[in-house]
């Protein structure tokens, strides 16, 4: 561990005010977790120089609610992730962690086999019923997300686009690429309607968010270096990198820099935008296309934690409200509990469901036409907890630009 990581020293700013504890959803759900204040600023600084690690830090879901509550800007969750990586230097991973952290590797393996996707999707149902996943430490109480027949990147060349001087690179992230490519297509529709041509970059790797959360920090660093070099190359050409996945954008924009403290990472972050954040920039430059169909929909918006942490407001809500007849209400029900692959882990499933209960209750009021959320794991959790399938806000905007 390099000791010039600023995050560790941010612990010195802690006032011991306990605001982070009041905000931590995992603490509220179980009493085994000793919580952000104790794990990060209090023990964290010591543990980088000592052998013992506060084991309960493995309960942290990396939702970052603590960071947002802290009045002193302590990089609490990042300190916890750094310590988790230390922990795994001395302790081996269980298979679930390995599998869930390597979403990209899994998908690539599956796609390289004949009938791989079909078999994998059957395999996942089968694996579940045979108890294979459970033995690995993955919960059998929810389905693993199914793979799409064709990945977004493979489909991309067949998607017709008007070429344009104005270009953006779409960072798909693993989930849009492998599981919900229609979100990537919706993104292209929206950007085309706004006069942009969308490029992709096949050299991008998974942003690394699941690796960090599961303590594979060295590997995450390799991904970071690869992606940062690519982003800087696009930056030189004046082409922004945009992503509809809020965990990817948070990672690329600020977590790389916070975790690894490399100036290139900060510079790269300046060239990365959340999809709706980018559309809002277009509004500010008077380049936004306001020619939208009326949709007449009441939307309930579950705001992902990793969007809140970016401090960009709620651009998706504000832009969708430009559509005739659309109202957006925020769910105001806190964290969904899923936190990436946290809720897939067998020993975390109940915690995730307990945290999500408030959101499920809100959604079950059914006083809306659709639920929207930018984060796929939030969407998976909402569907699992309520049987109501949410969509990504960009899919709604794409509908509004659809004139046939």
């Amino acid at each position: 561990m390099s000791d010039n990581v600023k995050a560790i020293f941010s612990g010195d700013r802690c006032l011991s005010c306990t605001a982070c504890m009041a905000a931590c959803p995992v603490m509220a759900a179980i009493k085994d977790y000793r919580g952000p204040k104790l794990v990060a600023p209090a023990h964290g600084r010591l543990h980088f120089s000592q052998e013992d690690i506060e084991e309960s830090l493995n309960y942290c879901s990396n939702c970052k609610s603590c960071d947002r509550a802290c009045p002193s800007g302590v990089a609490i969750s990042t300190m916890i992730m750094l310590q988790r990586a230390e922990y795994y230097k001395r302790n081996s991973h269980i298979r679930a962690e390995d599998m869930l952290a390597h979403t990209e590797r899994m998908a690539n393996t599956v796609r390289s086999m004949p009938f791989g996707v079909t078999l994998a999707n059957i395999g996942m149902t089968l694996g579940q019923s045979l108890g294979v996943f459970s033995a690995m430490g993955i919960t059998d109480k929810r389905n693993l997300p199914a793979y799409a027949e064709m990945s977004f990147k493979d489909k991309f060349p067949t998607i017709a686009q008007e070429s344009s001087e104005k270009k953006v690179v779409l960072f798909t992230g693993c989930y849009i690429n492998d599981n919900e490519p229609q979100i990537g297509e919706a993104f292209i529709k929206v950007m085309q309607a706004n006069g942009y041509e969308v490029l992709i970059d096949r050299e991008f790797k998974c942003c690394g968010s699941p690796l960090v959360a599961n303590g594979f920090l060295d590997e995450a660093r390799q991904h970071a270096d690869n992606n940062v070099a690519r982003i800087l190359e696009w930056k030189e050409q004046g082409i922004p990198v945009v992503t509809p996945c809020t965990s990817c954008s948070l990672m690329l924009k600020e977590e790389y820099y916070e975790l690894f403290d490399d100036e290139d990472m900060r510079r790269a972050g300046e060239n990365v935008f959340d999809a709706f954040e980018f559309l809002e920039v277009l509004q500010q430059m008077d380049e936004f296309n306001y020619d939208l169909n009326d949709l007449n929909q009441k939307l309930l918006y579950h705001v992902p934690c990793h969007l809140k942490s970016q401090a960009i407001g709620l651009p998706a809500a504000d832009i969708l409200e430009l559509i005739g007849g659309v109202t957006v209400k925020t769910a105001n029900a806190g964290c969904c509990g899923m936190s990436g692959n946290y809720g897939f882990q067998k020993d975390k499933y109940d915690i995730a469901m307990k945290i999500g209960a408030k959101l499920f209750e809100r959604v079950n009021k059914k006083d809306f036409d659709q639920v929207i959320s930018d984060c796929h794991t939030c969407r998976i959790q909402i569907e699992h907890g309520t049987k109501i399938k949410p969509v990504h806000p960009i899919e709604i905007l794409a509908q509004a630009y659809q004139f046939d």
Binding site: M27, A28, R34, A69, K253, E270, L314, D318, T330
Partner: protein
Amino acid sequence: MIDSDVIVIGGGLAGLMAACVAVRRKEKVTVLTFGSGSLPLASGAIDFYNSKFPETAIKNLPVGHPYYRIGLPAIKDSINFLKDVTARANLPYTGDLSFQIPIVTAVGTLKYSTLIPESMDASLLGDVKKIFVVGIRGIKDFYPRMLVDNLKKYFSNADFNPVTFDLNLLGGRDINCMDAAQMIADNDELFINELKGLNATPEDAIIIPPVLGTTDNSTRVTVKTQLHAALIETTCLPPAPTGVRLQRALTKYLEDNGARIYKNANVFGGVVEENRITGVVTKNSVREKFYPARKFILATGGFYGGGIVMREFDKPHEPIFDLPVKYIVGEENWSNPKLFADKPQGFAATGIFVDSKMRPIDSDGQPLFENLHVIGANIGGKDFIHEKSLGGIAISSAYKAATI
């Protein structure tokens, strides 16, 4: 891009209150917060003035005092408004300016306040026969015997009975009142059974730490219907469920009524056109964002909340709009050796001076900006520790600024 009628900077008691008042006036409100604000650390009781008869005391304050500028009608309206909003959120508050209500502290002393959660009202303790003081095994910092020893000094005629319940909260981390409140809200059965076991009569009272849930009064209602005696919550060390409940009640009102709350929003400057503010600028790790509005309310918490900072000694500074901060010159006046002593603090009187519309003024008493209002602990000219007026100034200045 969002166009707000009102932007409130700060999410403590003053900021949330101002936002609620503006929302009631059907204005489009955006709240920009950094950190979770003062409420999770506060008792939720709102002190107005350190006097048996706050109304009389406030009426006699000199011209320069913030209360004088706010004016009695707005002060009274603010109390009614807060009672109304909290009642709607099922968190009834009680009290008015004409008298003070006793509440029991975590060590068993009495303190007096003006506007308090109904659950803390200890007025009837003088009339009861038997007082049970209930501790919960596992909660530190709440010792029934110590409370009894102290309470005896006030209520020498009552028959005291200290007891400790075992609610199976041991195991896992050390728990605090927030934890217990959460666990009891999740499952109140055991707690209710233990309380019933006291066989308390309508002539008795039961004093408990603040553990009746973390959102509203619903747990208290369930518990109370099964008891004959009065049930009184004390204050506690932070994080405090009673403060968190008030924060949640105000936040819920805001979100239900379409206000936007943007977290992690690090506001670092304003954009000025002649004598008006046209917008504020936030900065995250990679870029800035401009938020335009018609009116701005600065509720950044004074010295305690970071709204006034002191980089150089004797030069207190308001970092967003660079407003003039008046302070008591001379080091010897800066801090009373006993911070909570009975003497006014030079330090605490430091702040931004405002006119009767809560607009910051220059040395001639003229408003600096037409549409900027400064509220809560940012306001100078008072010593809120000595006066015990922090909460009262917060909500009444918020009410005044928001209704201008």
